[in-house]
């Protein structure tokens, strides 16, 4: 029978199938961070259980960590206690930990691919909803709660119901100035933040095939913002080239890699495989996207305006009114008239080297607008090192921005990087929920290039027009 990419991976991880359809699914990689793991480790201790395969779990610290140069001193005692707990648990249970100060530290979804922990054909989980990022490699990767973290640690399996499949085909080619971020925001705008609930998304089509791994990760990362626990892209030459491009200590090497690639080549969805749902989007028609509300489905083209209360399919007028009240916006305002206090370039969505290059290309030789603050937070210590090697840090600081150390930072503001009440931000992150970046803070989600141009102008601009008027060098 013809199979989808998802089917092929799921089927080779089934340990048992129980009555009622629950599957005991084997888990190949487990990523761990400090926020969602302490209660799981504590549960193991209380029940006297061991970690079954410690070599398949990998831990780092990202959510709480300060991003300032004095970060080794964590001033928040509660954050510090959580980080210390991770260190203790990893030591006692023999799990690799890339903690603060380690050259491999970074946002968990950025270091996985960097270190070769993420490769095609796997099942991969983490107590974090953006685990969907790793699906860019053609792996089944999804976020889990803390009880499931404990279950994976103890058994290296999860009890799961088989999700349904949903193929999103992006036909045509992206137009200049638009990015993977615009593709995924456009999709969420169409199907809504619950449109993918219960499904695994598979992204395909010409516009996906031509994307780099970094851009593919941006798309898969935000699958959860469409409600889907996982998003996947079939592995191809771009995937294998990424794995071979740099030293990736946990990826298969030499003959093992050849053997692995031979297997990975078999993973694409069969031409006649059936999906439970399909959708085709013409990528050439996608414009740069900007969110205007308090969930990622509240999004429009940069050329658009803040909608009226009755003009948003899938949202009630009351929800739209509530969102606009929170955002301090009124119907009819042009997106390009929205002025910004802070620009945040970072997060597991858009803090890889390619994202920083995109932003730096816009900012090179320019200055951040008066009264606008620019915060650039690389996704990992390695991204930071590579960016500095290329001189990107200098471009950001010369423009008047702050160049920070790696962590989740202002994406969710668990560390000191937060918006103040009423402060308005353009952010390359993934969630524009109320209070997400700081209580009372107002978030507009955009691509790194859109964020950088907004930093220069102090308000949103249509990057396509702006690039025509301003000379932008590709980095």
């Amino acid at each position: 029978m013809a199979k989808t990419l998802f089917d092929k991976i799921w089927d080779r991880h089934v340990v048992e199938t129980f009555e009622g359809g629950t599957t005991l699914l084997y888990i190949d990689r487990h990523l761990v961070h400090e926020v969602t793991s302490p209660q799981a480790f504590e549960g193991l201790r209380l029940s006297g259980r061991a970690v079954r395969r410690p070599e398949l779990s990998f831990a780092t610290m990202d959510h709480n960590v300060p991003t300032t140069p004095d970060r080794a001193t964590v001033r928040d005692p509660v954050s510090k206690a959580q980080m210390d707990a991770l260190e203790t648990h990893c030591r006692d249970f023999d799990i690799a930990l890339y903690g603060l100060g380690d050259p491999r530290q970074g946002i968990v979804h950025i270091i996985g691919p960097e270190l070769g922990i993420t490769v095609p054909g796997l099942t991969m989980v983490c107590g974090d909803s953006h685990t969907s990022t790793h699906g860019a490699f053609g792996t089944l990767a999804f976020g889990i709660g803390t009880s499931e973290v404990e279950h994976v640690l103890a058994t290296q399996t999860l009890r799961q119901m088989r999700p349904r499949t949903f193929r999103v085909e992006f036909t045509g080619a992206l137009s200049p100035g638009t990015t993977a971020k615009d593709m995924i925001l456009d999709l969420i705008g169409r199907i809504g933040t619950a449109g993918g609930t219960g499904y695994v998304l598979e992204y395909s089509g010409e516009a996906v095939e031509t994307l780099s791994m970094e851009a593919r990760m941006t798309i898969c990362n935000m699958s959860i913002e469409a409600g889907a626990r996982a998003g996947m892209i079939a592995p191809d030459e771009t995937t294998y080239a990424y794995i071979e491009r740099e030293a990736r200590p946990f990826a298969p090497q030499g003959p093992d890699l050849d053997e692995a690639v031979a297997f990975w080549r078999t993973l694409s969805s069969d031409p006649d495989a059936a999906f439970d749902r399909t959708l085709a989007i013409d990528a050439s028609e996608i414009a740069p996207q900007v969110t205007w509300g308090t969930n990622p489905g509240m999004v429009t083209d940069v050329t658009g305006r803040v909608p009226g209360f009755d003009d948003v399919p899938g949202s009630t007028p009351r929800d739209v009114e509530k969102a606009l009240n929170y955002m301090g916006l009124s119907p009819g305002i042009a997106m390009t008239d929205i002025t910004l206090d802070t620009i945040f370039i970072g997060s597991c969505t858009n803090a890889r080297l390619e994202d920083l290059r995109g932003a730096a290309g816009i900012l090179r030789g320019r200055k951040v607008a008066d009264r606008t603050r620019l915060l650039v937070v690389p996704g990992s210590a390695e991204v930071r090192r590579q960016a500095e090697e290329e001189g990107l840090d200098k471009i950001f600081t010369d423009a008047g921005g702050e160049w920070r150390f790696a962590g989740c930072s202002m994406c969710l503001g668990m560390n000191p990087d937060q918006l103040k009440p009423g402060e308005r931000a353009a952010s390359t992150s993934n969630r524009n929920f109320e209070g997400r970046q700081g209580k009372g803070g107002r978030t507009h989600l955009v691509s790194p290039e859109m964020a950088a141009a907004a930093a220069v102008e102090g308000h949103f601009v249509d990057i396509r027009e702006w690039q025509k008027e301003n000379e932008v060098a590709a980095l």
């Binding site: 005991l24 509660v78 279950h151 103890a154 409600g227």
Partner: protein
């Protein structure tokens, strides 16, 4: 973790009239720094529930005296969207809710579930029942709650019914996955169940490639 078996109960319904209530609203980030599993109830819906001076906001629906001690949360579609934080379920339950009711949308292939996937799943692991009713049914219950604040309902998982104690009483049946139902009714410990299959896991591992190189470079 062994759960309390889910028992039929009668409790007050508290309304939270908004769709897409995300986990950042259910339990804001600053409370995720705790390394404990308890103590989250008082921070549930923190930013909506309290005024800047820390007093309960009298305008917030859960702060109405009539719904004090509520055990059933009534809300709109896509509740619990956003992050995977199980703290959201812990907060809902530690506040006192045993059941959350929300509407699904559409039918068949176009059906959009009432709850976000990870939240619903985390609920099962902790003994929280998430009930999906139709939009019309949920609307009717919202109206009943508005007319008689503090109105109670009986939630019967065994018979898959929510009975609203208005006069006359109204009963709504709901669908639940048989595995989930069994899990909740018996209060099962998933890890203990799975460990019974340890030999199957070992046999699986013996023939399964994980494509991991270099198993222990520290």
């Amino acid at each position: 973790m062994k759960l309390q078996p889910f028992k039929t109960f009668r409790g007050i319904i508290a309304p939270l009239d908004g769709s897409n209530v995300d986990t950042d609203q259910i339990i804001p980030k600053q409370f995720l720094k705790s390394i404990r599993r308890t103590g989250f109830g008082e921070s549930l819906f923190f930013d909506w529930r309290y005024l800047p001076n820390g007093d309960p906001d009298p305008a917030f629906s859960l702060n109405q005296p009539a719904v004090a001690g509520a055990q059933i949360l009534l809300t709109r579609n896509n509740f619990g969207c956003g992050s995977s934080r199980e703290h959201a379920v812990w907060a809902v339950m530690q506040y006192g809710f045993n059941c959350v009711i929300a509407p699904f949308r559409g039918e068949g292939d176009d059906r959009i579930p009432a709850f976000a996937d990870i939240f619903r799943n985390n609920g099962v692991k902790n003994g929280l029942l998430t009930v999906e009713l139709t939009e019309e049914e949920v609307e009717t219950i919202f109206e009943a709650v508005a007319q008689s604040p503090g109105v109670e309902a009986t939630v019967d998982l065994e018979n898959q019914a929510v009975t609203l104690h208005t006069s006359p009483e109204q009963s709504y049946s709901f669908e639940v996955d048989p595995t989930v139902k069994d899990h909740l009714l018996r209060g099962l410990d998933d890890i203990a169940l799975t460990l019974q299959y340890e030999s199957a896991i070992t046999a699986f591992e013996a023939k399964h490639a994980t494509y991991l190189a270099n198993e222990k470079p520290r």
